[in-house]
Structure formats: C-alpha cells, structure tokens
Amino acid sequence: MSDLPPIALPPDTRSPDASLAQRLLRDPLGLVSLVFLGVVVLAAVFAPLLTSHDPGVAVLQDVLGDPGDGHLLGGDSAGRDVFARLLYGSRFSLLGAALALAVAVLVGGVSGLVAGYFGKWFDTLASGAAAVLMALPGMVVLLAARSVIGSSAWWAMAIFGILLSASVFRLVRQTVQSVRNELYVDAARVAGLSDLRIIFRHVLRVVRAPIIIQAGFIASVAIAIQAGLEFLGLGDMSIPTWGSMLNDGFSRIYQQPLLILWPSLTIALVCLALTLVANALRDALESTSSRRRAVTLAVPVDTVDETSPAAGTAPTADDDRTVLRVEGLRVGYAMPDGSTKEIVHGIDLDVRRGEVVGLIGESGSGKTQSAFAVMKLLPEGGGILGGRVLWKGRDLARLSERDMTRIRGKEIAYVPQEPMSNLDPSFTIGTQLVEPMRIHLGLNRAQARTRAIELLGRVGIQNPERVFRSHPHQVSGGMAQRVLIAGAISCEPELLIADEPTTALDVTVQADILDLLRDLQDDFDMGVLLVTHNFGVVADLCDRVAVMREGHIVERGSTRDIFVAHEHPYTTQLFDAILTPENTRHPYQAPYLPTAPRTEASTS
C-alpha cells in the first residue's frame, strides 16, 4: 500500500506577477496613459526647473499676452505666465486628488474590511451610512461645507474623499464577504490563525486589485470635481490651480480664447489617462483569472480539412438504426500564441436508435469535448479540426450554424451536468419549457402549455402544474434535472446527449434519474450518448461503452464484455481503481501509540 508511485509535476511556469505587468504594458492605451501620467507628475515635481517664471507674479505688459515671446503659453488676465501656472497648478490639483483618494480608500477600505469580515452591528451601521453618503449630492455638500469652514481646498477634498469612500466601502465589503466564505479561509481558521492574521494573509490580497482599479476612477472624479469648485470661484484663489485657470479663461473667452484651452485640455487628458490606466489594469487582472477563456480564435478552426478518413456513404449503409456516426473526429482549441492544440485525436463512434452508448473517461480525457463537438457547442476558441459527424446522411461538421440550430434541441437533445445553472433564474420553468416547443413544433401557447404539463408529469413530477409556475430556485436539484429532461424530450429527439447527468445529484436522486432515463429511452426509442466517469452508472444504463483516454478511444465493446473481459491496460487500471466490498476495512483496534515524536511545532 505504501509503494505509491511518485507524482510527476508539469514543468515550472512563469510567476504570475511578472506576466501581469507584461500584460499591462502590452496594452497600448494603458501604456501611453501610464507614461503620460508619469510625465505630468514629474512636471509637477520639477516645476521650478521647467520654468523660470513665478506663477504668482503679475506683469502688466503680459496681460492676455499671446504665446511665445518668453511666455510659452502666453499670459493670463492678470499678466501671470500661463505655463508656469499650469505646472504649479498641477501640484495642487494632483495633491488635492491624492488627498481625496487617500481619505476615500482609508475610510472606505477599513470600514469595508471590518463590515465584510466581522459583519454584525458594524455592518448594519456602516452600510446605512454608506447609503446615506451615496444619496447626498456631492456638489451641494461641498458648497455647504465651504460656507462653514471657509475656502480651504484641502478641507474640501478631504470631505469629498469621505463622500467617495462609500463606493470603496461597498466594493471592499462585497469582496471581503465572498473571500470570507472561501474554504481556504476556513482552513486558516482551523489552523489557529487569528482574525488579524487571516485578514493580512488572505483577505487583503484579494481586496488589493479592485481597490487599485477603483482608485483610478476616484482620482479622476476628484480632479474633475475640484476643478469644478474652483471654476465656480469657490476655491482658494491665492494658489494656482487648474480650476482657477479655467475660471480666468472663461471670463476672458472673447479676448483670449486660448486661455481656457490649456487647463481644460490638461484636466481632460489627466482624467482620461487615469480612467484608461484603471481599465487596462482591470483587463490585465481579469485575464489572469481566466487565461483559458481569454483565448481568441486565431485560426478558423471550424474549416474542416479534406483529409478526413475514407469517404464513407451515408450511415444507412450497414444498419438503418444507426442515427449518429462519428468518423475520425478531431477537436482542438486555438491557443494564445496562434497555434492550435488538439485535444480529441480522431475518434470513431456510432449510436443506434434505442441504444445507450456510454463514453467513459477521467477528467481531461476529451469525453465531454467530443459530445459537445457532435452538437457543435464547443466553447469559444474550440472547433472541429477534422473528421465527420454523420447525422441522417448529412455531415454536421460542415453544417452552417443556422441549419445546426434546427437540428439541436429538436433532433438532438442535451441534458447537462449542472441542472441549476442550465435554467434561467429569471423565468418560470413553464416559460422555459414552452418556448422551444413553440419554435420547433409550431405549437400555439395553449397547446405548448398542455404538452409541457403532460411532460412534467411524464418525468415523474408529482404536481406538474405547480412546478410549471415555479421559478428554478424554488425546486431541488433532482427536480431541476427532471425539468431539463422533460425539456430535452419535448420535441421527441432521436438522440439524447447526456453529459454526466447525475454527477451533481445525491445517490438516491441519481438512481431515480437513471430509472427515468431508461424508461424514456424505451418509450421514445431514442439513442442516448451518455458521458460519465462512473462505472456504476455505465453498468446500470449502457448497452455499449467506449473508454476514452487523452483524446483517444482506447477500448470499446458491449457493456458486459467490457466489464467481464477488458483488454486495454488503461481500462484494467480503471477497473482496478474501483472500490470493492472485498476491501472492507478491518474492525477497529486500539492503536499502539508509542510516545510519538511530535514535532516542536506542536509541542511549543
């Protein structure tokens, strides 16, 4: 028992952080925006080096002066250098935005963390406060604050930060609540970590990214609001800011139209850059979590090559009960680097009417991909690379999506693994059953309703009319699977493809569903292609079975033959792994426990 083989690991891959930065830099808009923001910040810091003019000194002869002539962007209404004011102004505008941002993140972040993690009365209180803050009109609050505490730009920005903290609070609280229920947090709790440690080790990591993204948006709003206040003449007029420059430019718009251009351009570009950086960051982060889904179709995988195996005639040739014949089917996915990865390497399979064919294999064997390829329902990036899927003399692999839609659901039906996620939570079960029947069978509303209720009764639902009116969340998983089966058989299909139809269900429910499938298959004389990893299910239901491994069918035969006399070593390996009653554990004996050498970890 102890000589288990060592476990091989795939080769090491790059660290995720490096690739995050790389992805961010690969986004041209994000990169340009990041560089622009960097330049603005540097310009603000090194303003005295970039201009010799003092932003506050008025020179009479430069009043409304044109650009050039010692003043790069000319002079304003008081004869101050516009370029210098723009540079020095960015100090106050950026610092003001930074202050608002810091207050928002600190107040919103900490309260969101506490409310999300500990909940209880603090959550109720803080959520209420956040709702009130969100309902307050920001501009009005700032105007009121100004009349009480005076014209300080810093106070205004701090107050604005508190108003903005509500959005940070909501974001953080929601993120923390979902992390708190993760099993790895439970495991940390069981390991004896204190709440503070759990927050630092597990929770903050997850909250970090959304806060950084939100920060970009908050900073841009803060800059805009700040400029708005100053434009209204409510800012501190003694310091140069972008907003006060706007105000000045607006009042002289007829005499010197260029004056308003510079501050508005700066404000617009900075806000735009902040938003774009935030967007780029979000895209970069989201593509880490779903690397496989983000694959785009680099090659038109659906163009089947013509080198498919020997041209056969229609599947009626040898047996007129054969409904589906798959020949040399190859399925692949487009990879991010433009190549194609083949995962099903040319399988042959046929299904006759009134017969259940099992496709058994472990995860990653390609069994589900093969079934999806028959229906042409492969996820994005996937497609049929070669081979034929013969259905009543037509090759589905070459059929257009339009023609396929007519076959899917009507002639070939599908029962999924997760019944709940395949029902739309916002519609009643009845609506979801009636709709396909009206399209495929051309029934009117009343006819379709009668038939749907009949079908619900047929699949063993006790009170079909009540279930017809229910929403998916009101029924159990087993019931939902019955509903989906009712939907699948509603158009009397000739082939039913069931992808692990009982894996998500309890054993007792599984047994009921298997009985139901057997019944229906008899009644409707359907062919069934059953994808599963459970030999018990195969033994119960299947007439024939094909064993898949790494994209190949390694063995096939009648169920009895495969169970009694399998030949392929992989099949043998699978059968050996089945737990049998012969291995029943021996009764308990008190262990001889020597004073076990416990590690210092547990004794300290």
């Binding site: 790895y184 033994a539 737990l579 554990r585």
Partner: protein
C-alpha cells in the same frame, strides 16, 4: 476499552433564519457520536442530512446551540476563541473541494507553513517541516515553490492533507475529501489516508456520501438522515446488512459497477420503494 478521543453528546446546531420572527433552522437535532484514538468513523448521508454540519461543529465553524463536544476531556463548546484557536494542533480538516480550499495566490510552501507560523515556528524549522510533509504525501520537494493552479485535483488534495498533518493533529475531519477526484486518483488518495492513519494513529471523522468509500476507510459507520443519526455500527455490519429502511434505500441506490449485480440491485431497490410507498399509504389511512 479505549477512552474516546472525541465525545459528542446531544449536539444541536441551529442557523438563524432570515426575518425577525422565523424559527432558526435546526441542522443537527441532538447528535451523539464517539471517536476513539486512531479510529476512522464514516459519516454517510445525502446532501442536507447534516453530515457536513457535524464536522463543522467539531471544527468550531458551525454555531453549536446545545449539547456538548468533548475532546480529550476538554469541553470545546465552552472555550474562548483564543483557546479554540489553540485546538488547531489537535483537530484539523481536509475539505471536499481541493480547488477552493487552497489560496490560489499562495505557493504550496506558504500554504503548508501557515499553521506553523501561526505557532511561531522559526523559518528554518518550518521549511524542513514542509519538506517532510511533502514527502509524507508523496509530492516532490520542488512543489513548495509552485502555485496551486499547477496541480491536478488529486495533487491539490495531497497538499490539503499535508496541511492538515502539519501540526501532528490527533483528529482530522475529512469532509468528502475524495468526492471531487477522478476514479483512479480517488483510490490512491484513500490509500494515503489509511496509510497515514496506520502510521500516525490519527483519528478521522470521514464524511462522505459514497458507500464504497466508507467501506474502504472506516472502522465504524454512522448514517445521518435529516439532522439525526438513524443507524450506526461496525462497517461490515452496516454496509452488508443495514437495518434502518433509509440505510437500505441509500445502499440500494448506489449503482454497482457490474451489469449483472446492478440489475439485481435495481430490482431490490424497486421492491424497497414499493414497500415504503405501501407503508406511507397505510400511515396516511390511519392518520
């Protein structure tokens, strides 16, 4: 007779319901169960039967509102949260889903060192302990530097087992630890569980819905139904000759991987269901 390591008496777990006046939901309705040192007790039932809740109650992750849970003579339900945290070195857990039970952004080394650092074990000592743990669960030493996403389900579950073993616990709650695994992986992980138990003398509360799994790892079995234990006994007895009608139905529902035997089992199940329906009818007529 060996003294029980874990002693549960009439344990009640209630979750508060939404709404002010609605009754709380009773997930456990007074459950009693003992586990001896080095013993594996299988806990079987359907989803919603309360079997997972029972494990979480022992771990301090479910609200126990009645009864007592004693571990090695100490009452768990009366402990402060600080004392409870200290129990981490005695009671550990392996969850069902190896995909969500490991923090995706931490390396395997950090994950395994976590319980150690919580007890202020030095960096060096923690590192060598991590290497030891990886060897125990038959993972290569360089696994420590990698992230969970580079591992398959079975390998991740080995990591989760290693984490549970880090503090040399005396009891591990195993919550459906092989249900999410592939067939061939499942058998090997089960072997690992048994081997570790025989070597270290750790006790398991093994929660599962799979009759064959329970038969292979447990010394004793308890069957749960609607928050109560309806049958219990030695594994061989309960699995071969179940007495409670619910246990009988449960056993007959799980398909055997043998077409001929399965046909017999199917017939037997139909008979049991018919008997049950008849009894229900009679009960209805009397009432």
């Amino acid at each position: 007779m060996t003294e029980p390591l874990l002693q549960m008496r009439d344990v009640v777990v209630e979750y508060p319901s939404k709404g002010l006046r609605s009754k709380p939901f009773r997930a456990l309705k007074g459950v009693s169960l003992d586990i001896r040192p080095g013993e594996c007790v299988g806990l079987v039932g359907e989803s919603g039967s309360g079997k997972t809740t029972l494990g979480r109650a022992v771990l301090g992750l479910a609200p126990v509102t009645g009864g007592s849970i004693r571990f090695d003579g100490r009452e768990l339900t009366a402990m402060s949260s600080r004392e409870r945290r200290g129990m981490g070195s005695d009671i550990q857990v392996v969850f069902q889903d190896p995909y969500t039970s490991l923090n995706p952004s931490m390396t395997i080394g950090d994950i395994l060192a976590e319980p150690l650092t919580a007890r202020d074990v030095g960096r060096k000592a923690a590192q060598s302990r991590v290497a030891e743990l990886l060897e125990q669960v038959r993972l290569p030493a360089d696994a420590a530097r990698r992230l969970p996403r580079e591992f398959s389900g079975g390998q991740r579950q080995r990591v989760a087992i290693a984490r549970a073993l880090a503090l040399d616990p005396r009891l591990i709650i195993c919550d459906e630890p092989v249900s999410a695994l592939d067939l061939s992986t499942q058998a090997r992980v089960l072997d690992l569980f048994v081997e570790i138990q025989e070597r270290t003398g750790v006790a398991y509360l093994f929660v599962t819905h799979d009759l064959e799994v329970v038969r292979n790892v447990s010394h004793r079995v308890a069957v749960m139904y609607q928050g109560e234990i309806v049958e219990r006994g030695e594994t061989a007895d309960v699995t071969s000759a179940p007495e409670h009608p619910y246990t009988q139905r449960l056993w007959m529902a799980s398909p055997v991987p043998d077409p001929v035997a399965q046909e017999r089992r199917r017939a037997e199940r139909q008979r049991l269901l018919a008997v049950q329906a008849e009894q229900d009818q009679q009960a209805g007529a009397v009432a």
